[in-house]
Each structure stands twice: as C-alpha cells, then as structure tokens.
Symmetry: D2
Subunit: 349 residues, 4 copies
C-alpha cells in the first residue's frame, strides 16, 4: 500500500483543491481501510463549501463512495482484504444510546465521512483511500452481480430517500409528492413504490430533471406555471398528497410542501435549512399534519442493496457523467452549475 494519495481538501468558504494526503492507517481493531474505486459529488458538499454546513478549514471532503477492502483491524470478522464494499456517509457503532434508540446518525462513537470537524472528523471520500471505523457494523458487501455504479449512491442519496419514507406512516396506495427533482428527489421517486406508493407526483422547475421524473413515471407539476398545491389536490380527488417529501430546503418549497399535504398526512423534510422558518402550528393542529426530518440513518443499506440486486430499484440512470479524480475541480464546476444536464458525476481515482 502506498503512503501518499490525492484528495479534495476544503480550505475555507469557496476554496477547495486537490492535495497530496497521507494514506490512512488502521487505528482501532474494528477499523477497515477501503481503497476507493468510485466516488461522487453530493449537494451537501456544496452546502459545506458555501459555508452552510460549518467544518474546519483543511478538512478532506466527499462522503459517497464504494471500494475494495485493503486491510482490516483484528476485531473485524465480517470483511477481509479484497471484499468489494459500500461506505456509508454516517459510520455507527450499533451499541451506544442513539444506535440502540434507532437514531444511528446521532451515534456517539461513530462519525461522518468527509465532514471534517463534525462528529468524529473522519477523512473524505473524494480521494483514494478511506479509514472506516466500526467496519463490521458500517460497511456493506457489494454482490457479484452488481457494478460499482449500480450501488454508488447507496451510501448517501439512496439512503436519504429510504430514510425520508421509512419513518413516515405511508400505506399501500398512498400518493407521494416530491418537491425538488434533484438526485435525492429522484431517488425518492425510485424507492417510493417499495414503500407501497401509488401515484407519485414530482414538483419542480428545472426542465431536464422534470423530464427524467416524467419519463420514469411521475406525474409532474411546475410551480412556476400552475399552483402546485391546487394541482396536487386535483390529482388526488381534492384531498392532497398523503406524504410530501421536501428536498429543496427553502421557505417557498416548504410552503408548497405544507400546502400540498392532505389532512392527516405527513411532510418529510430532507432539505437543509439555514435558519428557523415560520410554521403555521395552528393549521398543523387543525389539519393533523406531522413533520418528520433528520440526518440520514445509514442502517438500512443492506436492504437497499437487496432491492437493487432484485431489480426493484435502479438508480444508475442518475449517473450522467464519468470523470477522473484528477479532474474533480472541473466536475465540481459542472455539478454546481448544473451544466450539461448533469445529475451525478462518477469520479474514478
């Protein structure tokens, strides 16, 4: 194993570069070192770079990747060198207070890949190697029948879509509306039928993304062209959607989500909010609305892989671009400006 590797480093707001870094080493008996074979850029990397998520300068970033086990600590029993694995964004121990309560994203011993000083300060994923604590608990084997691209998004955006739906009371046949046709919103669309969704409605404005949503079976609404909430009700016998998943994270999209949900329904907020938002609590009471949100629990990745293997979910269409780690700054530029109808860019080290 070599000693040095290239990796993306965040220096301060708006400032990232590709640097030479030390290859990580096993620190604890339950660690594994994973050689990254494919990585990608996520919307939350942009939040971080823009300062909406505050991490220390000089942090290595990136958190969505797959790879091959290079080395395992002596207490790792489920994996060995050479195994192909998915790395989750949130690493969890499985036995702390929060893990036992089911909130694994709040794990007291684990950490987040690629978010510098936040919770544990693990290395990034836009690089060549990454150390993964609690390897037995956190890593997931990639079946032989699946390629790296098939499962590249399992560790973050698919996990988030799964999380958004798993925790709301969704019944077979329910209508699910999604606000925001970005990668997470499109993953929600793909995975909603697994939770029993009937009609799926995508609400958004960006034409090429809405075209993808439509092609893959969603009813679509452009809030610039029509009253989104009224249109949702029109599509649902006047009631509104049973569940609305908000994936945009601004007061306007919050209002659309809130106005589109039926009485007794749930709003699942997956966007990021810079500050408090005024919420009509009285309407929530009178209309029996539940608001669910949170940082993604990465403890259902095995289930997701089984669904992909069985052909129930397919998110490979989201990978629209393939680039090299050496060109990642250019990839960031394309991704940020949504150039060239980009959805996700697979980055090969």
């Amino acid at each position: 194993m070599k000693k040095k590797m290239k990796g993306v480093v965040f220096h301060g707001i708006g400032d990232i570069s590709l640097e030479e870094l030390d290859v990580p080493k096993i620190q604890k008996p339950s660690d594994a070192i994973v050689r990254i074979t494919l990585s990608t850029i996520c919307g939350s990397d942009l939040h971080l770079i823009h300062g909406q998520t505050v991490v220390d300068p000089e942090s290595p970033i990136g958190h969505e990747c797959v790879g091959v086990i290079e080395e395992v600590g002596e207490d790792v029993s489920s994996f060995k060198a050479g195994d192909r694995v998915i790395v989750p964004t949130f690493v969890h121990c499985g036995n702390c207070f929060y893990c036992r309560k089911g909130s694994t994203s709040q794990c007291e011993k684990g950490g987040i890949i690629g978010f510098g000083s936040i919770r544990g300060g693990l290395g990034g994923a836009q690089t060549e190697y990454v150390r993964v604590p609690f390897a037995d608990m956190s890593l997931v084997n990639i079946p032989k029948t699946l390629t790296d691209e098939d499962v590249l998004l399992v560790g973050d955006v698919i996990a988030t879509a799964y999380f958004a739906l798993e925790n709301v009371p969704i019944k077979p046949g329910d209508t699910v509306a999604i606000v925001g046709p970005g990668p997470i919103g499109l993953c929600v669309q793909e995975i909603a039928p697994v939770f029993g969704a009937g009609k799926i409605i995508m609400i958004g404005t960006r034409a090429y993304r809405m075209a993808v949503a439509k092609e893959r079976g969603a009813l679509i609404i452009n809030p610039n062209q029509e009253n989104a909430a009224e249109k949702v009700r029109e599509l649902t016998n006047g009631y509104g959607a049973d569940v609305v998943v908000e994936c945009a994270g601004n007061p306007e999209s919050f209002k659309i989500a809130f106005d589109s949900v039926r009485k007794g329904g749930s709003v699942s907020l997956m966007g990021m909010w810079g500050k408090p938002v005024e919420v009509p609590l009285n309407e929530m009471v009178m209309n029996n609305i539940t608001i669910f949100t949170g940082l993604v629990d990465c403890d259902r990745l095995h289930e997701t892989v089984q669904l992909i293997e069985a052909g129930r979910i397919n998110t490979s269409f989201l990978i629209t671009h393939r680039m090299k780690l050496d060109d990642i700054l250019e990839a960031y530029r394309i991704f940020e400006h949504k150039e060239d109808n980009v959805l996700k860019i697979a980055i090969k080290p």
Copy 2:
C-alpha cells in the same frame, strides 16, 4: 321524552348563558338520542368563548359527557334505549376517505359535539339531551362495574392524551416529559405507562397541579425556578426526553418542549396555537426531531374503557368539583380562574 331542555349557548365572544332549547330528535336511521347524566367543562370551551376557536353565535356548547340512550334510529344495531354510553367529542362515520386513512377527527360525514358551525354543527353537551350521528360507530358502552365519573373524561381529555402518545414512536422504558399540568397533561401522565413509559416528568408552575402530578408519581420541574430543559437532561443521563408532550400552547412552552427532547425524539403538540410559530427547522434536521400534532381521533375509546375497567388507568381524581347544570355559569367562573384548586367539574343536569 320532554320537548324542552336547558343548555349552555354561546352568543359571542365572552358571552354564554343557560337557555331553553328544543330537545333533539332522531334525524337519520343511524342516529341516537342520549339523555346526558353527567357533563363537564373543558379548556377548549374557554378557547371557544374567548374567540380563539371561531364558531357561530347562538351555538350550544360543551362536548364531554356520558349518558343513557333515550332512543335509537332504525339502523342502529349495537345500542338500545337504556344503555349507558360515552359520547365522543368527534363523531365519525368509519367509511369516508379520512376515516379509512385513520384520521377520524377529519371525518367528512361526522361532526363535533358542541362546536357550533365547525364540521357538522352538532348540539352541545352542557345540556340534557344530545343527538349522536353514527351511533354504532361513535358511542361506547359503559361497563356495569364503572360509574359515570370513572368514564366522564373518556370522550375528550383522556382520548386526547391517548392520541398524543399513540402516534409517536414511544418504546418501553422511554422517558416522557409533559409541559403543562392541566387536565390533559395529567391524563397524559396517567396513560403514558400503558404505552410503555419509564420515567415521567411534569413541567409546570401552578403549585396545586404540580403537587397532584408529584403525588401520582411524576418527577416535577418548575421552569420559573430552574432551566427546564437542562433539568430534563439531568434526569435523563444528559440526553433529554424521548417524547415531550406539549399541553400549554404558547411560544414559551413550545421552546421548553423543543429544548427538552433528545436527538431523535418526538414532540407531540396538544396545545392550541393562535398563530404561526417560528420553528428552528435546521435544528430539527440536525437533531432528528419529529413534530406530531392534530385534532383528537376518538376511535380508541373502547380500548380506554377496557384499561379503566382493568384498573390500568384511573382519572377520577381529576374530578375535584361536582355542580348542577343550573349552576354551570358559576362552574365556568371557577374553572376559568382555576379557583379552589379545581381540575375538572362534573356537571349534573
């Protein structure tokens, strides 16, 4: 059956009186007429009188009562004249869109007892007789072993406490904190163990109500004397309560509730809010907080009665005063000003 009866009528904000009213009649085959044997006054009657809940002038009010069946429509098959029954605040049909979805308080055909023009406009319960639509679906038999006082609160405040807990993810051993030691808060305290609650913490300031909470086993916190959220964490190994039920309905109590819940926990809002409240959505995301609320679904009354019959719940201690219907305006005065350590006043027609 006589033709005229006395009943409390709302004339406009701050203005109620005891009037002579027509005794209600069967209107549909699924109706029942119930002769009221015991009624009471609720905090939401005060909201109504103060104009926070908007109903038409000249509406008969009151919504919490028990009685004896006087007459049933020809399609009523579960009840007959002479049966002792509990009348729920919200009457539901059981088969409309909302009932099928489980949101029976939003029933499209049912209505609310004692809320004038709101949803169906049924008569009040602070009177001698009340018409109950969908009698088979809505009424609940009172077992012989139980007195009227034993079950007087089943149709509203116990139902609300049950509803507050039934819909949040509460696990055996969880700590439940309650903000507001009024009748609903005290009912939440009584019923929480049925849902598996471990420690129960009551947060409030009114001395005699806090004394009741303490005597019945709650840990108590006075937010005027200590930082409530800090104290909750102190009582929970630093984590905060798994579930917080907010029963006060003001921005200060909302903040206490929000600050007292642990990461990954739930806030169940049972208070009434006059207007929107600023909610720290970003903290909700970062701390995985769920907000649950709504108008009470009155479809678990049978279960509640079984629990009272088996001795698991006992709320008769809440009935601190007993008065006659003729004296109900005086009863309102006592209840509103919380005089004489009042909790609930049983009103006998």
Copy 3:
C-alpha cells in the same frame, strides 16, 4: 328492476345448477342492491362444492364480482344508483368487537357472499343481482380509468394476497417464496413488491402456471425436480426465505413452506386444511418461526384499487377466459380440471 334472475345454486356435494332466483331487495337502510356486470369462479367455490367447506344445500354461490349500484337504502350516503363498485367477499359493519380489533372477516353483523349458511347467509355472486349489507363500509368505487376486468379480482384473490403479506413482518428487500402458482399465489407475486419484497420465488409444478410466474419475474422451483427448500436456500445465500406464503393447503406443501423459511422468518398459510397437521413446534421455537393465517379481511380494497389505478399492480393477465353466465357450468368444468391453461374465467351475466 326485474323480479327474477338466474344464479348458480349449490344443492349438495358435487351438485350445482343454474336456477331461477328472486332478485334481492333492500332489507335494511344500510343495504345496497348491486347489478352484477362481471363475476368469476374461485378455488373456494370448488372447496364448497366438494364439501370441504360445509354450507347448507340450496345455497346460491359465487363471491367475487363487480357491478353497478341498482338501489341503495336510506342510510347509505357514499353511494348512489349508477355507481360502479367492487363487492367484497366478506361484508363488515366496521363497529363490532372484531371489526374494531381489525379482524373484519370475523365481523359479528356482516356476512359472506355466496357461502350459504356460513356467517350471515348472503346471496351469491354468480348471478345477476346481489344485496350488500353495510354498503358504505363494504363497497368500493371503481375509478373511471379502470375496466371491470382490471378490478374483478380485488374482492377476493387480490384481497387474500394482500392479507397474506400485510400481516407478516416483511421488510424492504426481503425474499418472499410462494408455494402454489394458482391465482392466489400469482396475486401474491404481483403484490409482494408493494410490501417491499426483493427476490420472489415461486414453487410449483404445473408447467403453464410456472411459466406465467417466470415471465412475470419470479425465480421458479419445481419440487418434483429438485429439493425445493435446498434450492430456496441456494437462492438466498444459504438462509432461506424471509417470508413463505403457502397457497396450496396440503401436508406436503406445508412441509416445503416450513423447510424453506429462514430462522426468524414467517410462514403465511393461505391454503385451506381439511384437518389438523402435525407441526414441529420444537423446531419453530429453536428457529424462531411465526405462523400466520386466517380468513381474508376485506378492509384494504380501497388501497388495492389505488395501487391498480397507479399501475403498481396489474392482475388482468389472470383472466384467461371470458364466458357467459348461461355457460357457467361449462366454465366450472374447465376451471376445475385446469383445462386450456385456465387461470381465471370472467363470467358475464
């Protein structure tokens, strides 16, 4: 409305004929009369004719149909003459002890369509008109976008498949094995993805039915050609299926089901059993196996219709034959002998 109609009548074991019957009338305010537009024959009609299910002689039979409302009682508020509706096999009141407990097939006031003296003795469905008690609770509207054939199976075989899966703990990605590729087994295959199923395995011997299962995406196993339980384990990394749905109802198929389920898994028995079966309780304990079974609860038909409307379920492929009511005895012959690759026969009055 005419006075007389034709309908299939069971006279005794092995003896049915098409007779002239009185057209049913409204008996209670919550009844509806439905003019049948399409009916079908079910495996349980054969059980009845063969005497495995005991009903009184001279009972009209058939229980799976759709139609148009001819007339409603005065207490029916959700339907009116002319509405297209699905008739459920089990009619339920919604408010008796069992309905409140969720076991609507055990309803104390309802009944079964086409099972003579069993529970309520309602008329049959292989005829021209049927009286449906508790119409508001039991009937389901057919959306304009769907044909009669699209929803013909909703009231029984789809309901049974839904019921088989709804009540077992199935998680996203779970492997579901099905024993018996008849109409119910094939419906389980269609609906399992709605409950999150990953791999679906069909176990059976009849070639044309197995071909259908395979074409629609199941992995298939012929227990005459290989050890079914071993093969299931081979397809599931050695573990066995998470859930096995048994749809054949004989000791051999029970053994296959029991041997194919993984430790900690569930066996859902949807077959009919003439007599007690020896069950290895000790193995059940050591392997943490749950056995679920029962008569179908027909209270999730609205959800099923939403799923069909949204395109998530499609069972119209099961209708392989279309015949007239006048020819129903011939249809019975074809269905019983599984001639001509029959799956289901749509019968037009």
Copy 4:
C-alpha cells in the same frame, strides 16, 4: 485475578457437580471478563440436565447472572473494569445477517452462556467469572439505584417475557392470558401492562404460585377445577383472550392456550417442546389465529432496566431463596422439586 474458580459442570443426563475450573481470559478485543456477583437457576437448566436440550458432556452451565467487569478487551469502549453489569443469556454481534434482521438469538457470531456445545459454547454462569464476547453490544449497565437482585432476572426470564409480548400484536386494553405460573409466566404478568394489557388472566394449578399471581393482580383459573377456555371466555364477554402466552410446553397446555384465544388473536409459545404437536390448522384459518414463538432475543435489556429503574416493573418478589454457590446442588434439588414455595434462588459465589 485468581486462576481457578468453582463452577457447575454438566457431565451427562442427570449428572452435575461443582468443579474447579480455569478462570476465563480475554480472547478477542471485544471480549469482557465479568466477575459474577449473583447468579440463579433457570427452568432451562433443568431441561438441559434432563436431556431435553442436548449439550456436550463436561459443559459448564448456568446462564442468568449479574456481576462486575473485571477486565475488557482493547476494542471495548462502553465498559471498563469496575462497572456493574447484566450478562444476557444470548450474546450477539449486532451486525450479522440475523442480528440485522432482528433475530439476535440466532446470531451467527455470538453464543449462549451456559449451553456447552450449542451455538458458540461459552462458559456457564453458575460460577465466579464468565467471558462475554461482543461486550459493548451485549452487556448492560446496572444503574446505581438498583441492587443486583433487582436486575438478576433481566438477562433471561424477564427478557423472555418481554420477547413473548413484544412480537405479538397487542393493543392497549387487550386481555392477556398466561398458561403456567412459573417464573416466566409471572414475569409475563408483571410486564404485560407495559405493553398495554388490560385484564390479565393466569391459568395454572400449583397453589402457591397461583396465590402469587392473584396477589399481584391477575384473575386466576385452575384448569383442574373448571374448563379454562370457557372461563377465559366468561371473563372476556364471551370472546376469549386477545393474546395467550403459553409457558408450560406440553400438549395439554397448548390445547388450553389454543382454545382460550379469541378469533383473530395470537398465541405466543414460550414453553419448550420435545416433539411435534398436532395443530388444528383448519381452525387456525377459520379463526384467524397467529402462532408466535422462538428463542429469546436479548436485545431489549436496556429498555427493561429503564422500566425497573422507573418502577414500572418489579420482579424482586420472585427471588424467594438466597444460597451460596457452594450449596448450589442443594439449591438445584429445591428448585427442581419446587420445595418450600420456591420461585427463584439467588446464588452468591
């Protein structure tokens, strides 16, 4: 730490003795060595000694104990020497296939304390020290406010009672009947209210145990004196119990359980069965009965401790005798013959 200790060893059917054994050592980084401060004898020790559970000769036995951490492996982060802990009967890894599926008793890497060659072959608990693999996942801290006796039963009989109820659909107010007033049955009685039980009915014959059940609030039925199933129905308005927990493990008690459950109810089998039992599957179908069973999952011990700490559960009354490890053969004699109104015997090393 000393090198030798005394411990009970199983030599063959009917043959146990107190032997000198090697004190166990840390073998893996996730192990802990616990110095046992209190242990006890369980009914399943008797099954083992009588040969109903087959383990290799010369196995150390006993599986219910509490103690103090003596030493931890380098990968243990939640515990340190000196911590008071509960040792679970089943040790689990938390990340294998079965642990992820929720069947932790079937863990592929863990093992059972005191069951010799079965699953992993860990040492016994009727001794002075025990090695506990996966310490972070398996051990549970004892709060300062609780004594060893308060929590002695958490690791097995309370866990079993919890498991018996956790996995059946029990709703608030449900009637729970228990067949067999032994330690597990009495623990089910104690813990059932946490899962919402209304009435609790104990069915059994041994007078002193039935007296305990009655004193602690159960309705009691002696099947030698009356028809148990009929009496259960008499106590439940003619319906039968919603849930029956069978804790005796013989065909007669199975029949009582099966006959006492209501239509649509669940039978939870916690007894051990030597061989297959004839089960009336046809009645199960017609009456919608579910059968649940299995080896206890020991992954809810933290919840149980929280309930004991909050005063919701109290099982210390079960400890009727206190003896020394040196006298354990005499203790076995008393326990086996149910002499002196024994329930559980606390054994002090």
